[in-house]
């Protein structure tokens, strides 16, 4: 206690807010903190909440698969929305991107940020009636999160003082200590890191650190992505809603009467419906649903004219991820070079894209000023740096080379790629300047199409290759691509979503890691240094250096920052779209 309050005096602005909460020991501030998401005054509370009713969410298919609703081991798309209904983390992120108490009521920092002690909330019950204990938290980390949660495992895992046991060994994390409650002393959980670890509070939310009931797995192997719950077991969490049922097109949740923020939630029932994107705005207009996570830009004007509908914008993607940047990843090495060889610096450079001049030429051939409008229909803007502009403390302007067709042609000439005539790809030693560009369907496909059109004008042929998720992951694993459009969701800290695209250690072949094969010792060093700083300003400065260096090396092109336009029934209030727990306090007047 004394320690954390002492720390408060030296803490930065962001830490100040959380330390205040920690020292205050009072968590009634949370709803208010979450209730005022920037720019959505209509979502604020007014009058007395109405109890009861059903809230219907329209969501793009596919919904999380049956039996997979376990955000601790399954990080597929759509899971984050479900996670917000059913689960809590130790800490939640409010509408201003500040950490606020959730299952932990307060946290104390020691050893200059290398030791974090979380005090657990008393009398929290899981949906099956069992009380939350410190053992549940410790077990969730060692058996599920630090083994199977792709992001948490790769960020918190390596930073702990002693590494956790890997599967299939029995779960064990000596660096996470659980102390149960005794008498009036509440339970605590302690995380011990090898070095000071700054980003921790951003990584304990319901999406990054959902807490599971250990007893459900008694006598069973720990959860994995393939078997997230024991056979026949419905999802059990501590969240505001309980799991009711699921079928091919909907998930139904019921009110958790024992929620720790009782009398919240107010809604009796929440239904998530899978609706094709093209029909979503229509379903909302017809009054069949109450909420859309993402409205296509072209549908916004009609919905804005609709008196029954409210619109607001945010940087959370429709899948629940935040601060996503659409990038073009260049494979800097010969196609098919295995990731370990690339990591070890043994690969041969890519015959076309290994050349910095070609990458710069590609960047300056892109007439990006129309991309946000044409590709995203206004749901986003040009990215100006590898780190999203929404992660304010870390973002520094470091744009890709600006559009300049002449400069692009000159660079290509300098690189030895000579024009082969109008409408034909340039050549060098008889080889055409041609490469594959892989992409998903949807806006990423439109972005790829747009780039391919622009590149054709300077004599670069980008052949479009559409892939699905499994196909893309397989390409990544074997590095069987020349270039690939990826959407990189960065959450609220560069440690979660940026480092894994640029660090040498992240050339693993796993999806959403360093697909470029980019390796720069200076950048690696700066990333490590940035985690060990606690002070956001100091961290921001290090990230600034990183961004400048990456922009000079150009292993990716950061192109678009996507935003989501949400639309919802005007009758519904206290929605908190910018936090995971967006229906915790919601109610509808009808």
């Amino acid at each position: 206690m004394a320690l954390s309050c002492f720390h408060r005096r030296t803490a930065s602005l962001a830490l100040l807010a959380l330390a205040a909460a920690a020292c205050g020991g009072n968590d009634t501030d949370t709803p208010e903190a979450g209730a005022t998401p920037s720019g959505s005054s209509s979502a604020g509370a007014s009058g007395n909440p109405v109890k009861g009713g059903t809230f219907v969410i329209g969501s793009s298919p596919p919904l999380p698969a049956q039996g997979t609703l376990n955000p601790a081991v399954n990080t597929q798309g759509g899971m984050q929305q479900a996670a917000g209904m059913l689960f809590n983390g130790l800490v939640e992120i409010d509408g201003n991107a500040e950490p606020v108490p959730a299952l932990a009521t307060k946290w104390d920092i020691a050893d200059a940020g290398a030791t974090w002690v979380f005090t657990l909330r008393d009398k929290v019950k899981f949906h099956n009636g069992a009380a939350l204990t410190a053992a549940d938290v410790k077990w969730t980390y060692e058996a599920a999160l630090l083994r199977n949660h792709a992001r948490t495992q790769s960020s918190i895992g390596p930073a702990l003082a002693t590494p956790c046991a890997a599967a299939p060994a029995p779960p064990s994390c000596p660096s996470i200590e659980a102390t149960e409650a005794s008498g009036s002393t509440p339970a605590t959980v302690t995380f011990r890191f090898a070095k000071p670890y700054g980003p921790l509070l951003q990584q304990l939310t319901h999406t990054e650190g959902a807490i599971l009931p250990k007893a459900v797995w008694d006598g069973q192997p720990p959860p994995t992505a393939a078997q997230p719950w024991p056979a026949g077991q419905d999802p059990v969490g501590t969240g505001p809603f309980t799991f009711d049922s699921q079928n091919a097109s909907e998930i139904v949740y019921k009110r958790n009467a024992d929620y720790f923020r009782s009398p919240e939630p107010y809604l009796d029932r929440v239904v998530t419906r899978a609706i094709e994107p093209a029909a979503q705005a229509q379903a909302l207009t017809a009054g069949e649903i109450d909420w859309l996570w993402g409205v296509s830009g072209q549908d916004v004007p009609a919905l804005e004219r609709n008196p029954d509908v409210t619109i607001n914008r945010g940087t959370q993607s429709a899948g629940g991820s935040t601060n996503c940047v659409q990038k073009l990843a260049f494979n800097l090495f010969e196609r098919g070079t295995p990731p370990p060889a690339v990591r070890g610096g043994q690969g041969k450079p890519h015959p076309v894209l290994g050349d910095l001049k070609v990458r710069q030429a590609i960047a300056s051939a892109l007439k990006t000023d129309v991309y946000a409008q044409q590709v995203l229909q206004g749901n986003g803007e040009l990215a100006t740096s590898p780190i999203s502009s929404q992660i304010e403390f870390a973002h520094t302007e470091a744009p890709i080379p600006a559009f300049d067709q002449e400069a692009s042609k000159k660079l290509l000439d300098q690189a030895g790629w000579m024009s082969a005539g109008e409408g034909k790809p340039r050549t060098r030693n008889g080889q055409p300047l041609s490469f594959d560009m892989f992409h998903f369907a949807g806006t990423e496909g439109t972005l790829a199409t747009k780039m391919s059109q622009d590149l054709a004008l300077v004599g670069v042929e980008a052949k479009l290759q559409q892939v699905d998720g499994a196909g893309k992951n397989a390409l990544y694993k074997e590095r069987q691509f020349d270039s690939i459009v990826v959407s990189n969701c960065q959450a609220t800290d560069p440690e979660i979503g940026v480092r894994r695209f640029y660090a040498t250690a992240a050339i693993t072949g796993a999806p959403f890691t360093n697909g470029a094969g980019y390796s720069n010792p200076e950048v690696d060093r700066l990333f490590t240094a940035a985690v060990q700083e606690i002070e956001p300003a100091a961290r921001g400065k290090l990230y600034g250096d990183i961004q400048k260096q990456i922009a000079a090396d150009l292993p990716y092109l950061w192109l678009l920052e996507t935003t989501s336009t949400r639309a919802y029934t005007k009758d519904c209030k206290q929605l908190r779209p910018y936090t995971g727990l967006f229906l915790e306090a919601a109610y509808c007047e009808r």
Partner: protein, 318 residues
């Protein structure tokens, strides 16, 4: 009740000569036939001329995005500023290429399997029908969806896949027809006159199943256009090649703000498919001896009419 045919089929009916005079007369006299012929001819011509009428890359931007139809862009532009008229022409060419290639492949395979199976019967029939059944039991769309989903969307993939798998209906129909035909007197007659199997197949059976085959192939062609469109619709189209399905897929999110993006490619599909179906019908009717032209003459077909339809036969009725 048993009705006996009064004579073996007339000789001329057994040749596969194109009944041009009759066909033409039929086309001119029947509005639907005229329409069908015009539509098919029109779509084929337009798709052949796509490169001339809309030169350049149909995927390249031509103007501002989402322009409604106007003098300079009669079908409007799409979300990336591409001219939809040009894209539709090129898309039509892609769709017709797919339909014609798949149709030709299926015609050859389907006729072969159906004729041989129906005529030879026995073990050959059994084996061929088991194979056909396999192809029939895997719905084409299902297979196409897996192949295109797994191995990437390419028009060439699609042609090969659909070409090798779309013949089962034709084979079954041809077989059924052959089964009935080979029971008939005129085949017995030919056989008793010492005609070889091959000769009976080619001279006697093939001409008689061809009308049906053409109808089925027209049907296959139109189905193939629709399958390509449906695959594109669920996001499995080839992004490097404009097809009508690709255009509708692209148009989906803009249905309520830019109707022209969906309506023109959609109507073009309807026109192309309609042309194929009507032409199939037209051929069927023209070759049907009891069709309107025969009827108009007010008499049953006589020996001198170009009787290429089903010959007079013995039919047993229970």
């Amino acid at each position: 009740m048993s009705v006996r045919a009064d004579r073996p089929a007339p000789r001329r009916s057994l040749r596969s000569r194109v009944p041009s005079g009759r066909l033409l007369r039929h086309v001119v006299r029947t509005p639907s036939a005229l329409l069908g012929g015009t539509l098919l001819l029109g779509t084929v011509t337009l798709s052949l001329l796509a490169g001339v009428l809309a030169p350049g890359d149909p995927l390249a931007a031509a103007g501002p995005a989402l322009l409604p139809p106007s003098a300079s862009f009669p079908f409007g532009t799409d979300n990336l500023g591409r001219d939809i008229l040009g894209a539709v022409l090129h898309g039509l060419r892609t769709s017709m290429t797919i339909a014609v290639s798949v149709g030709a492949m299926s015609l050859v395979i389907g006729l072969f399997v159906g004729l041989v199976s129906g005529y030879r019967g026995g073990r050959v029939d059994n084996v061929l029908m088991r194979v056909t059944e396999i192809f029939q039991a895997v719905p084409l769309f299902f297979l196409a969806l897996l192949v295109v989903g797994f191995f990437g969307a390419g028009v060439d993939h699609l042609i090969l896949l659909l070409g090798f798998t779309s013949w089962e209906l034709l084979a079954r129909v041809v077989r059924a027809e052959t089964l009935t035909l080979r029971e008939r007197d005129f085949v017995d007659a030919a056989r008793s006159l010492g005609a070889s199997d091959l000769r009976i197949l080619l001279r006697h059976l093939l001409p008689n199943v061809l009308p049906t085959a053409v109808v089925v192939i027209a049907l296959v062609g139109s189905r193939v256009i629709l399958i390509e469109a449906a695959l594109s619709f669920i996001g499995l189209g080839d992004p490097n090649q404009v097809s009508l399905g690709y255009l509708i897929f692209n148009a989906q999110p803009f249905l309520q703000v830019a109707w022209w993006m969906s309506v023109f490619p959609g109507l073009t599909i309807v026109v192309a498919v309609l042309g194929l179906n009507l032409t199939g019908d037209l051929v069927n009717q023209a070759l049907d001896p009891r069709g309107p032209s025969a009827k108009r003459r007010g008499s049953a077909p006589s020996d001198d009419s170009l009787n290429l339809g089903a010959p007079e036969v013995e039919t047993r009725v229970r």
